[in-house]
């Protein structure tokens, strides 16, 4: 996937120097739309368009690395894409096989760039051999730190949210379900905040991509088809981000502060409810949480320490739940590794076939 370094023109170097004086997004998400329209426009086969799209991705990743963008998320294949013709799906799967096999061959280059590859999505929906390749790529690069490439494969945001709901329904008690816990159950839990979301081909919708995560992202809809996306379009998108980011940051911060406050309030309500259950209440207990002042507790200080204790316990419960969830997901990926890795050697990881 990563080729040898391309030479940049002086104009590009100058632009880069100018842009990097401003804030550069840490995490860029891309919807690479327009491969097929590009193929139609150039009267190529559809598959040819997808190949061109893949080449463009490799190029774009390099541009991002040079600019200091350390995390890139791409929408490679949506669950909805399974609805395409069998031919095209097969072709896309084959293309992915080839590209991931190539990526595994070029592991030295991956390590040299320090790229960590993560797969985001429900990969159990994919063909078995492709699952193996993806698992190998993930495990092989897991310890790289410099840059992260998230590949959304068999992904839709709604499916992701439903998976999180499933985990929460069995993993924690209902009262512990909060917004911050919810987002830690998403496939994207290990990702940084999405700063900039780029969609090419002039379409102006999200198409079930990072719906939750992009709430506070800067959106950039670019008119060109993905294979025609150039470094100049990337520069323009970053400039667009720079004009938006400070305001978005302010709103985001205020949102997070409010969220923490609500969490404290919820903890308080839980403590009140619990202690009311212990002793029989001397007022109507139906509306406890909304009348905290009328609550019959020895002293204010006492309540505060109770709430703090409750919060600490809740934190402990949810941390244990998350640790278990993450371990299970990691084990699942490892369980997909083929008994005899296809490419080269990777003896360090013991293979645990389920």
């Amino acid at each position: 996937m990563f080729t040898q370094k391309r030479q940049k023109t002086w104009a590009q170097r100058a632009c880069e120097a100018v842009l990097t004086t401003g804030p550069v997004p840490q995490h860029v998400a891309i919807i690479m739309d327009g491969n097929r329209r590009f193929a139609a426009k150039k009267s190529l086969a559809k598959s040819e368009g997808h190949v061109k799209g893949f080449d463009k991705l490799a190029e774009t990743l390099e541009w991002c690395l040079d600019l200091g963008i350390s995390e890139v998320t791409v929408y490679a294949f949506s669950i909805e894409n399974f609805k395409r013709s069998a031919d095209e799906v097969a072709c896309l799967m084959e293309l992915s096989r080839q590209k991931f096999a190539k990526l595994l061959q070029e592991r030295d280059l991956i390590h040299q760039h320090g790229v960590c590859v993560r797969i985001i999505g429900n990969i159990s929906l994919l063909p078995k051999d492709l699952q193996e390749l993806l698992a190998e790529a993930v495990c092989m690069s897991a310890h790289n730190k410099r840059a992260i490439l998230n590949v959304c494969f068999a992904y839709t945001a709604r499916d992701d949210m439903c998976m999180a709901m499933q985990e929460l329904a069995v993993g924690v008690k209902e009262g512990d379900i909060s917004e911050s816990l919810f987002e830690k159950c998403l496939y994207t839990c290990h990702c940084r905040n999405v700063d900039l979301l780029i969609r090419t081909s002039g379409e102006v919708r999200l198409s079930d991509f990072l719906l939750w995560e992009s709430s506070f992202s800067c959106l950039a809809f670019v008119k060109v088809l993905w294979p025609e996306f150039s470094i100049w379009h990337l520069y323009a998108a970053i400039l667009h981000y720079q004009r938006n980011c400070s305001k978005i940051q302010i709103v985001r911060q205020s949102y997070l502060i409010e969220r923490e406050r609500l969490q404290r309030e919820a903890d308080f309500a839980c403590v009140v409810e619990e202690s009311n259950m212990e002793k029989p209440p001397n007022h109507s207990g139906a509306d406890k949480s909304s009348h905290p002042t009328s609550f019959n507790m020895p002293a204010q200080k006492n309540i505060q320490s109770c709430v703090q204790q409750y919060a600490a316990e809740r934190e402990q419960r949810t941390q244990a739940f998350l640790a278990c969830l993450y371990r299970r997901r990691e084990d699942y990926i490892k369980s997909l590794l083929p008994a005899h890795p296809l490419m080269g050697s990777k003896p360090a990881l013991s293979v645990t076939l389920s």
């Binding site: 100018v18 004086t21 401003g22 945001a157 709901m165 329904a169 198409s207 506070f216 720079q242």
Partner: protein
């Protein structure tokens, strides 16, 4: 010295972009207000969105213009309208909006007031009665939303499902997008927005209905203040010309 120079260039480019934006913005405001000629305009639209979301990402609000947008939408056949601002400024001033809608209706529709029934809902006044079939010829439901109606709605659904699973009313495998979606629809009585009109220089959704926004067309306009019927109509025409493939 070098950084200073680069910063300066960066600043100049930003300024240039700002001025360019201003240039694009100016001619819109010089256009005169045109009384909508309903039938003719409807024919211009290849499709009419069932739900239009107005995202106000500006500091100042003009309830008059918001009311105009709502009345124009309803007269063009839009049945659901949501008005979103992060802090819930519009929600808090629903009465003011209602007054403005009345005034705007008079201006747009003239004497024929009864044919256009606009109801306002917000989560502080939840939908009590079941959604009656949309009345008369044109009717519209306006939902006022703020950031609390977005992600929190999803988390509430997660909680609700957790209870249902614990009670044995749902199996875990039932938690699928289609079922969760119908649950969320039911709680809010609001279909997914087909078109999302974003007002203001900021290019972000700022927490607007993350579950519902899946397939919405997002179109940006520079400001809702002083928006003309013409620029609103051209946004709707732009929406009508888009072609969705639904993953295929």
């Amino acid at each position: 010295m070098r950084t200073l120079l680069l910063r300066f260039i960066h600043y100049v480019i930003s300024l240039g972009q700002f001025l360019y934006g201003l240039l694009l913005w100016l001619p819109v405001h010089s256009l005169t207000w045109k009384k909508p000629s309903l039938e003719a305009d409807r024919k211009l639209l290849k499709k009419v969105p069932a739900h239009v979301g107005f995202l106000v990402l500006e500091e100042d609000f003009s309830f008059r213009d918001l009311a105009n947008l709502i009345v124009w939408s309803v007269t063009l056949g839009v049945s659901y309208i949501s008005v979103y601002d992060f802090n819930g400024e519009v929600k808090r001033n629903s009465l003011l909006l209602q007054q403005n809608i009345r005034a705007s209706k008079e201006q747009v529709l003239g004497q024929d007031l009864s044919s256009c029934d606009i109801q306002i809902f917000s989560s502080s006044h939840p939908v009590l009665r079941p959604p009656s079939a949309l009345p008369k010829t044109h009717g519209g439901r306006v939902h006022l939303l703020c950031v609390d109606d977005g992600r929190k709605n999803i988390v509430q659904t997660a909680r609700h499902l957790s209870q249902m699973v614990a009670a044995g009313m749902y199996r875990l495998e039932d938690i699928q997008p289609s079922i969760v979606d119908s649950m969320i629809q039911e709680s809010r009585q609001l279909p997914d927005p087909d078109l999302c009109l974003k007002f203001g220089a900021l290019d972000s959704l700022l927490g607007y209905l993350p579950w519902h926004i899946r397939l919405s067309e997002i179109i940006s306009l520079s400001s809702h203040k002083g928006i003309t019927y013409k620029s609103f109509l051209s946004a709707l025409i732009e929406y009508g010309n888009t072609d969705q493939r639904f993953g295929k």
